[in-house]
Symmetry: C2
Subunit: 336 residues, 2 copies
Amino acid sequence: MRLGLFGSANAPRGAPSAEAVQGYRDYTETCIEAEALGFHASFLVEHHFTGMGQVSATLTLQQWVAARTSTLRLGTAVLVLPWHNPVLLAEQVATVDLLSGGRLDLGIGRGYRWSEFRGFGLPPEEAADRFEETLDVLLRALTSDARFSHQGQYWTFRDILVEPPPAQRPHPPVWMAAAGEASARAVAARGFNLLLDQFASPAKLRNLIAAYRTEAAARGHPADPLRIAVARNIRLADTADAIASARAAQREQHAGMLALSRGPAGRAGQRSHILGYAETLEATLEHALIGPPEAIAAGLETLRDAGVAYVLVNAGRAPRETLRRLAREVMPAFGH
Amino acid sequence: MRLGLFGSANAPRGAPSAEAVQGYRDYTETCIEAEALGFHASFLVEHHFTGMGQVSATLTLQQWVAARTSTLRLGTAVLVLPWHNPVLLAEQVATVDLLSGGRLDLGIGRGYRWSEFRGFGLPPEEAADRFEETLDVLLRALTSDARFSHQGQYWTFRDILVEPPPAQRPHPPVWMAAAGEASARAVAARGFNLLLDQFASPAKLRNLIAAYRTEAAARGHPADPLRIAVARNIRLADTADAIASARAAQREQHAGMLALSRGPAGRAGQRSHILGYAETLEATLEHALIGPPEAIAAGLETLRDAGVAYVLVNAGRAPRETLRRLAREVMPAFGH
């Protein structure tokens, strides 16, 4: 089983610079250590306006990590395409991919946080159309060696050749999330890789993976299980007290995510990518792997039995001890 | 006298990845060596759609260099504000500034190349207004610890707090170019640093510097000569043949810049930032410093006598030998 990192980093306002940077430095050091421990990739979020300093310039931070590592893949999970000029984004994507020696994994999405649509002055109703148009131009910009023009609903470009080219040709692997079988099939149909979330049960994962792989094979796209990465909240905890405390920390993290994704009370159309899957906050913990090494190993075995070959570990705000113990006490049983 | 580098890097399409990346790697190695040789900064261009692979994602490349250096300042010369979403740009600026330990020099401009306006689908007539609005939001995004909203002609943002904060407070130094005394005064009035071009004569530089410093002092802004950087084409050449060949290379570089900035023949409103200063291509070489070390030293002395304290060396596509010889054979006479 392959393990990666579902990374995060915080650099909030209101602190002196030396403190603000610490979260980014910790993330960098975590990535350097994760590479040495045998982790395959670090996928990093993109968020805006949170007030808690979540990573915003995701590719810019990953470029720093790229310069400090040598084999770790640098993922995004996910770049929210509706915020971006597709040409400027393609140039950044290619620049990171080129300098990192082809280590970029390009996770993309439509966005779901009400506060971000409001912040950027964009109606959430436009998200799907903006996503499609931006993706179309982005891939063309990354791949085309000939000049092209684009006249769309949101963007106009004339007679452009986008440079630099990426290192990975025709373009870095694209990853998209899917929460249901229809969307897993749609990701397969595009020929993209699949990101699955930390709330799905092993039984649900089995169905999503089957749907993806069947559709990919039918379309003639690669259906390798390593093209599917499953996020999982994992915290090593050895005693009942430590387990209770880890569960509380995990619950608090989910409550924070939920608050950020919600619009004002009663606003129609608000979306939550958490409570879409679970009735209560407590239920969001159901498929987290929290416990001693043998419990984590058992959880990973269950995932493996469901067809999962690649797990992205979300180990919370201070992940290094969890990553070390995973490497030392859990991964050897999985061939590492 | 302080010396910096006016850097460039090329990663064109049409080559295999391993070749495409070489220009960026050479630029990185040049910066690492320039730092060791005592150069203060490297300022890097932003250009798009050139077909010759000029740097497009300037901050993304400079972030790589930031991770590989420790004291060199990372400059932009210039980021063209009308191309950018001011919030996404502020996030990148702050991320580079934060991780580099406050080493970013933020050169900004309005844009002048017809092919870039056309490529981005923007009328050149909007450049000045877009520049002002983007600058306004950019500086507010970098400096504000409180949420704010913006409703302008081109951009709308609601209730945003932009993170991370930059390391340099209130924001990284802003540099702007000026070609005449009125615009030098305008840069001083904004409290920004001044970039002067490679075509201006020492006599003209003296007037521009005086205009800037007088206005800065009158406004209560710092008027330190190190807040003015003067670009200069410099090539070390010891023999008549080498000098002729260096002049030819310099002329060819100017011809390429000119072709890129021009619109189609006869198009009204086309601008050239080269032939604005010189009647002919040959005349663009008039203030280049091309020759043996003693000629370069004499040229720098003339600049110093004109009030220039900070020179940005543009040494062409293969600058390392020139930088080494400057450090070894010229800079000692200037207190290095």
